[in-house]
């Protein structure tokens, strides 16, 4: 036996404590008068010797506990003669059942080849050997199987969508070789196509794994790889009822690809696009597909992008892309103020926004405040006012009705506001704050809103504003405002004064922005941030979006345009890629699907159907063959023969192994500590 931390053995000197206590301690006794001492006399000698024995035994017990604790801290190791003849043969097989293994050439698929080799390997093993099989894409260990069971499991293996999980295999292997079968002969077999994604995982392994025998087989076709894959697709927009999709296609093989690319949604199909890709070439192709009439209601279109037949891996020839199309919506913006010149910068920003907006049509109309008529208010969805004029005070009922009906009223300030009109608007709950004294002090806007969770503004635009460095925009002056009791402050200046107020009135919203639309009070609308700022107060603008995931990602279905049948419902049934119905949980505005069960479509049951596409992870489409010498080098580094390993728990020296004894010591100490009071009490009798 040896000790790793022998210094702790000095702790054993603590036995001096109980020894001294034993020597110095005097028994506590009662004094009693008695008469018949002669009858006690003969038994007394026996009693005294027994008491001494008892004291010695208790002392010995306590000393043993102290010494054992000291030895426990010193981490004892027991030297045991290693007998190889007693060890069992344990085989650990890492079998790659990821989608890339479906690649087929003239000889058959990689997966079938892998199964045949695994079966041959198992059959060649001893009859009493144990088998542990790790299925890399599933991430499942099947452990301690006999030969027949292992053969049956290999025969029953199926392809799983998803990447091969090399780390899971190696960590399980490490556990088996170090703990469960540390005295057995562990042999390892890895069967995989070693796609770049899988190979990279082996390269990233830093701690070597110990095993007696290492076998690996790179299952690749001897012929040149023939594979092209659709790796990504983006929606450009809808123009004249045609959905435009940019599709990225990569030739991962060694053969030139001349194929056709098509898109299909429902009965509509795009015109085929001929693709021509040399090896390892990537190109983007644009497909246009008729979507029919886009209605007022939002919808989700399932679009399948297909490459015509012709390569070894068919799973990556189809790309599943769901496109969310919001309902058609025009936004009428009425710009009003005391002069056209003052509104010029803001109008320019809104015009820019209307051009960049993907779907919503923004129509901007400019009317002088003095010419503002009730009919203009009826036309507008959004009113942006550069100031508060006297005429505005006359239109209070109309403005109030406009907001209550769902309109959006945005009011900037200038030095020329009419305080009486402002007060009337404030009193009628239209203005979110009442501007008072004008303060000509320079300040800057805070980089982020005071209240970032407020609804009614565009939070994407809010994030954009920080990119435009809104905090660097100089504000030359501001008004001292009195906040309406029902309003909320959503943004501040850097000096702590108020920048933007928001107030709800009926179904609509009223903003008061404490700066001017021209550069008289600040440079906001003169800066690059003006477009994003306009988008911020116009609220969220619906855009065409795409919804597709890879099968190893968390699948989220947008609840876009779909009313939940029961607001309290936490789960909704969805159909997953394997055609089975599963429950998906509702989280915010999405449905979380726990397992897509393959590649294809995940869609909600019932109308309107919402779907999302599930595709292969990118690593599974890249079929580039590994370089044999690199693979050999990496495998030699990852798997070390057990004689060379650095073992933390059990170290091997020549024909002896050192086994840690701390568990035994700990249990003995616990038992002795439990038994000590019982023994002491028993001996006192």
């Amino acid at each position: 036996m040896s000790f790793t931390e022998w210094i702790f053995l000095l702790g054993g000197l603590a036995v001096v404590g109980p020894l001294i206590a034993h020597l110095l301690a005097k028994p506590r006794y009662r004094r009693l008068p008695f008469t018949m001492l002669r009858f006690l006399q003969s038994g007394q000698i026996e009693s005294q010797s027994r008491r001494k024995l008892r004291d010695l035994l208790i002392l010995l017990l306590r000393c043993v506990i102290i010494v054992l604790i000291a030895m426990l801290f010193a981490r004892p190791l027991l030297h045991v003669r290693f007998k190889p003849s007693q060890s069992k043969s344990v085989y650990c097989l890492g079998l790659d059942n990821s989608m890339s293994m479906t690649y087929s050439d003239r000889r058959g698929s990689y997966f079938d080849t892998m199964k045949d080799r695994a079966i041959d390997y198992i059959r060649s093993a001893e009859n009493n050997a144990l088998f542990n099989i790790y299925v890399m894409a599933s991430g499942d260990w099947m452990q301690s199987m006999g030969k027949e069971q292992a053969l049956a499991e290999v025969k029953a293996l199926k392809i799983e969508p998803g990447n091969a999980n090399v780390e899971g295999f190696l960590s399980g292997l490490s556990r088996i070789s170090r703990a469960e079968h540390k005295n057995d002969e562990v042999s390892v077999l890895v069967l995989s196509d070693f796609t770049p994604n899988t190979f990279r995982q082996f390269v990233n392994i830093t701690e070597p794994i110990a095993a007696e025998r290492i076998d690996y087989d790179s299952i690749v076709s001897p012929q040149p790889i023939n594979n092209a894959a659709i790796v990504d697709a983006h929606v450009v927009g809808v123009v004249d009822g045609k959905l435009t999709i940019n599709t990225a296609v990569v030739n991962y093989g060694q053969i030139e690809q001349n194929r056709r690319l098509t898109a299909r949604t429902g009965a509509n199909q795009s015109d085929p696009v001929d693709i021509n890709l040399s090896p390892n070439q990537r190109k983007n192709y644009q497909l246009k597909i008729d979507t029919g009439t886009i209605g007022q209601q939002p919808s989700v279109l399932p679009v399948e992008l297909n490459l015509s037949d012709g390569d070894g891996l068919r799973a990556d020839d189809t790309f599943y892309l769901a496109v969310s199309v919001p309902g058609h919506k025009d936004v009428n913006i009425l710009l009003t103020g005391d002069s056209e010149r003052r509104l010029f910068l803001l109008k320019t920003a809104l015009d820019t926004l209307s051009r960049t907006s993907s779907y919503d049509a923004l129509r901007v109309k400019q009317v002088l405040m003095s010419e503002l008529a009730p009919s203009d208010l009826e036309w507008a969805d959004v009113i942006v006012s550069s100031t508060i004029t006297e005429h505005m005070g006359n239109l209070v009922p109309e403005i109030e009705n406009f907001i209550k009906a769902g309109g959006r009223f945005v009011c900037f300030v200038t030095e020329a506001i009419v305080p009486d009109a402002a007060k009337i608007l404030w009193q009628r709950d239209i203005l979110a704050a009442l501007p008072g004294r004008c303060i000509q002090e320079r300040t800057y806007i805070q980089p982020k809103p005071y209240n970032s969770k407020v609804s009614g503004v565009d939070h994407n635009a809010e994030r954009s504003l920080s990119n435009y460095r809104i905090d660097k925009i100089l504000i030359k002056g501001r008004f001292e405002c009195q906040q309406h009791p029902d309003a909320q402050l959503i943004w501040q200046f850097r000096d702590g004064s108020d920048f933007i107020y928001l107030k709800r009135l009926g179904n609509g919203t009223s903003f008061l922005i404490n700066t001017s639309v021209d550069d008289s009070l600040g440079s906001l609308t003169k800066s690059n941030a003006s477009v994003a700022f306009c988008q911020y107060f116009l609220g969220e603008i619906h855009q065409i979006d795409r919804h597709c995931f890879t099968c190893d990602e968390q699948i989220m279905l947008p609840l876009f345009g779909r009313e939940l049948p029961d607001s309290g419902k936490k789960q909704i049934w969805v159909e997953t890629c394997d055609g089975r119905n599963r429950r998906a949980s509702v989280a915010d505005s999405s449905l979380l699907v726990p397992d897509p069960a393959g590649i294809g479509w995940v869609k909600t049951l019932g109308k309107p159907t919402i779907c999302t596409g599930v595709n292969l992870p990118q690593g599974e489409t890249d079929m580039t063959k590994p370089v044999a010498s690199e693979l050999a080098g990496v495998m030699d580094r990852v798997f070390k023969a057990s004689a060379e390993q650095t073992v933390s728990e059990a170290e091997v020296f020549h024909d002896r192994i050192r086994r840690p004894l701390w568990k035994i010591f700990a249990w003995i100490i616990i038992l002795l500590l439990l038994a000590e009071p019982a023994i002491a009490n028993r001996l006192k009798r």
């Binding site: 028994p27 506590r28 006794y29 009662r30 004094r31 009693l32 008068p33 008695f34 008469t35 018949m36 001492l37 009858f39 006690l40 006399q41 003969s42 038994g43 007394q44 026996e46 009693s47 005294q48 027994r50 008491r51 006192k684 009798r685």
Partner: protein
Amino acid sequence: MRQSRKYLDPVFLSKLGNMDLVARCAVEGFFAGLHPSPFHGFSVEYSDHREYHAGDELKFVDWKVFGRSDKLYIKQFQQETNTTAYILLDSSKSMSFAGDGKVSKMDYGSYLAAALSYLMLSQSDSTALILFADRVTKHIPPRSKRTHLNIILTALQYNRPAGQTNLAGVLHTIAETTKRRGIVILISDLLDDEADIFQGLAHLKFLKHDVIVFHTMDHQEVNLDYEGLIQFEDLETKARMQVFPQSLREGYRQRVTEFLDEIEKTTGNSGIDYCLLDTSEPLDRALVAYLSKRKRMM
């Protein structure tokens, strides 16, 4: 009955304080539980008549009265002094032991001596009291007058345990100094050499005395019901001993039982009445033992 037995309880008697009251309570409490007939001696001097009750001896039936009245009457006689009782009370230090702290062997012996004295003098027996330890410390000669009771009770009341036991020597001394034979009542814990004790008792027996030994022992002396580590100190020799009583209890009880059996056997062989008394028990066992002895003498 239960109410009367209260007066025989040593703990109750210890609370009375007055030895005269102790003696009266003990004896009258005892008789109240025995029989409805008052106790009378059987002598030649006529005392009274009473109705015949089943169990009375026919020889005491007054047949003349029966002839006249056709009713059965028993003739009763005034009791006379017809014996001398020597009460020997051990007053050594070991008699002061009280295991439970309530009634010591000395107290118990004193109550018993008082009760017996009261009983004897009410029967007009001459009663002597001898207090002793390693020698006789007090000797009250036998008298039969009722006033003699006060002398005995006063001596008992002021008696204090002291000195070591020398029972054998005392018994020889008493045997040599008593001129008239009678009943010798020994109240002691007999903590002396057994052989010497038996020799002393044999000496008394040789002189034709009727001997009753009341062996008073405390409950703890018999059972050793102590727990934990205890240092015992001998009341007489002051010797000390540290022991765990629980570990010695079994052997101790066995040795005490052997000791008591030996005494009982030896006294029985010598025709000596032996009565082992536990100080936690009432006095009636002792009084019954005395009366049965007294009756056999008559």
